[in-house]
Subunit: 164 residues, 2 copies
DNA sequence: GGGCTATGGTTGACGTATCAACAAGGTGGG
DNA sequence: CCCACCTTGTTGATACGTCAACCATAGCCC
């Protein structure tokens, strides 16, 4: 993995080649298609959008299946506004409920309903199967190693100072 | 790149490991963030959305900077309905225009306005720079090789029969 | 030609994401 | 206590993507 004799370690190199551009486009297209496939599979199997699933996952993993709205937003890295709109829709569908927070009258506690919990648990197994089928089954162990390495480089490039 | 002595060539392997799942989540998150960054940069620099850019690119590369609506849809792989909505918005902004097709009275020809052409040409250089800065500069040549290989595997897995 | 089906394109409804503005409750310094 | 300021969460406007329904024309077969 170590560089050979070529220089230009961390210095931005010359120009971007057309091959590098093509690889970016391919990466963008293929990941978009994977998202689309997995999303519509999830919708078909469980009537949940990927966004629903993300919210439910965060709640299931939280203590007592409930979270302050802003903690939930921080957990899944959403803007508060987006979360508020989405929680409104999920509440209408009976997946979650909100109630006033006892310790801060501005706040809201979000918690799972039984229906939300059932939906999440019913969705997980088919969703994992779909990820395996469409993504994991395509790659060899060596390719996973290489991809992990690449993703760490990209992550480090986007957020240079976040540890680990 | 050839497999060692391990078996299980094309047969779906055992279970998906949690590491493989984590790599998928990381891939999805990082590519989403890259799209977001590049998209908002494009918007800031040129007041174009990524979708606008894709449409303009297809038109610029077409003969005479014009295309039948359905050819355009095929070129960029969009549903006709999505394209129709988007062309409506782009037309309101003066980026493109539509006119009846002389050889097929159902059809519509889409063509670039001067404004659309200028917007596209002004957008390209900063957009390329942004892709270089946020994506290409993060990776080594070896990583590009590996990523290309991985993407071809994924592509082949998603569309087994499309040549090259 | 008359009718059937396929194709090209538009529309409306709905869910979703982002932005800016906002209301209302907290917090801390004077 | 009071006021300025921060945080929490909601709302409305706008843009976007998908789906199903739709209209008009083209192509075809009798």
């Amino acid at each position: 993995m170590a560089e050979g004799g070529e220089v230009t370690g961390t210095v931005p190199r010359r120009r971007m080649t057309s091959r590098e551009l093509a690889i970016w486009r391919s990466l963008a297209d293929i990941t978009a298609e994977l998202r689309r496939i997995l999303g519509s599979q999830l919708q078909q199997d469980s009537n949940l959008s990927p966004a629903d699933y993300e919210v439910l996952l965060a709640l299931v993993e939280a203590d007592g299946c409930q979270l302050r709205s802003s903690e939930l937003a921080a957990t899944i890295d959403w803007e508060r506004s987006r979360l508020s709109h989405h929680l409104g829709r999920m509440e209408r569908r009976g997946l979650i409920r909100r109630q006033d927070c006892p310790t801060d009258s501005r706040g809201a506690e979000v918690f799972l309903t039984d229906e939300g919990s059932n939906a999440f648990h019913g969705a997980t197994a088919p969703h994992m199967r779909a990820i395996k089928k469409h993504f994991a089954d395509a790659l060899t162990l060596e390719q996973f190693e290489a991809l992990d390495d690449i993703l760490q480089s990209l992550q480090g490039h986007l957020h240079p100072d976040s540890r680990s």
